[in-house]
Symmetry: C2
Subunit: 318 residues, 2 copies
Amino acid sequence: MAGALKKDRATSSANAVTADLVAVLVAVTEGEPKIMTIANDGALPSGPFEFAHRSLQTGLRAWVEAQTGHPLGYVEQLYTFADRGRAGGAKSPHSISISYLGLTREDKVGQGFEAHWSGWYEYFPWEDQRAGLPASLAKTLTSRLRAWAKSAETTGLQRQRWQRAAITFGLDDREWNEELVLQRYELLYEAGLIPEAVRDGAAATTVIPGKPMTGDHRRILATGIARLRAKIKYRPVVFELMPAEFTLLQLQRSVEALAGRLVHKQNFRRLIEQQQLVEETGAIAADTVGRPAKLFRFRHGVLAERAIVGTKLPLSRT
Amino acid sequence: MAGALKKDRATSSANAVTADLVAVLVAVTEGEPKIMTIANDGALPSGPFEFAHRSLQTGLRAWVEAQTGHPLGYVEQLYTFADRGRAGGAKSPHSISISYLGLTREDKVGQGFEAHWSGWYEYFPWEDQRAGLPASLAKTLTSRLRAWAKSAETTGLQRQRWQRAAITFGLDDREWNEELVLQRYELLYEAGLIPEAVRDGAAATTVIPGKPMTGDHRRILATGIARLRAKIKYRPVVFELMPAEFTLLQLQRSVEALAGRLVHKQNFRRLIEQQQLVEETGAIAADTVGRPAKLFRFRHGVLAERAIVGTKLPLSRT
DNA sequence: TGGCTTATACTTATCCTGAGCATAATCGAA
DNA sequence: TTCGATTATGCTCAGGATAAGTATAAGCCA
């Protein structure tokens, strides 16, 4: 297996790195998305990938189970990135973080552990657009973004910056796009408007609301939220976050919680029903306000029956 | 940063691993998708992540540029997985592979290197459905899959296997889904129908057509193809593979080459034009058969103007 | 000139989506 | 008992997007 691209592996041990497994573990409780945090809510759970682990996912599952007392259900890989050795100098070994998105239910997690569930909008207040943004936050955000754009060297750059801010944050009559979680975080980081940026050397300014995290953890969380918001649109993953039986309104509230936006009730039901994602249990929800709702359960069959598609190509029949 | 999840890092050096960067480098030439290969077309280009690299992407770009003599354009991360130490025993250090998808043009790559461009359908003959499958291949595939299903212990398992095969391969009047590249590869691997499976210990049988690769490289390639096939539907990435000017038919042929399916010509143009992805150059294609076509170029502006969305939620206005 | 090939314009039926109206079922207070 | 508040659920309707095709234009070559 020679080849110009294949460096001599004799040097490999000198290039050894350590690999960390980081988890964005999500649950939705009473219409609020939660994430598992440790270290006084300032970090995502993470542990080293060890020899004993047969695979990366095995490693992740191993310590999450040890942590929560319950087996991990749905898991998917998010992203891998290398720390820019901010701790030590060139001598310190590189560290690689491999992040995962996991979906569970809060009540499935045992007590007596050091981890907590935190609301994810505590870390990203601007991402919750269900009731619109609080006027104060909207005002600060806009003015800070405008100031950042203005502070560019040339008018060309100023326009570019403002256009980028307007697109990602839905300003100037643009649509809000809930999937741009990571782009928004990275813009705020570049603009020096969040604590992590200041920590990493940006000019100190008054930062924007939203709890910071250690290292790149908030960036990883943003990646996880973005992935989840995109995925609920074309895969039936919300059901991983629902109890066995639920009303359509509860389902809707969960989707809204994740997306950070409100959906049209009647059309939402039509969508769910026409895709035959759920079936009635026959039971009726108790202790509710208003007309009692039917209870539904997820039709696990759909996973086997079809490979859910979303074609956007004008395919030809012949 | 204590926490039940955070193992003691004093042991980290004992858990050191090496990280490989693997590239699925794609080009489309004359309506055929190509990938860059080394080692007599049996491997994807790959190189170790080194201390000198500031980031993973930097590392990847570094050696790809060294290889092709041209800067790498569009790059995105694919997936990270850990080798199950198949080479040595428990003593051998874990190796992690971080794979990337890169898009270029064949003519941008310099000569005099050890790498080649190979047609990607040499590795996945069954993925090219543009002209339908060759009858012989279709027949072998179906009969082998049926045999595999039949060989299960119980009738329940047999039915399950056949259902899975039918869904992924579009049998029994099901639709062919071009995005299931990885699922198809993994099914064939499990069924022991490809050389890599036999190499890894499956019972020796006559394998199905399609060139094998070292290690997990064919699996990585499948991941890259799947990702690209999905992405061309909602992001304007095809244009990374096109020359500066092209006719709509050339664009269509490229899309078809990637998707492995034919598209409806008139509707394809309408789709492209209504999204305003291209603009006329004013010039006309030369030396063609039939009526000469207008030349178009990609409107780079769209990247800045909008964040292309694909909502599937019935959002509410209020 | 007629036949072959590709380009491009237009049509038609159908399905999907956004938006809203209308009615049903329950509870609690007047 | 009735009214109001609240949620559930059924249904309509217009507009836009899509699939599939027909028709015409514009080149080349025998």
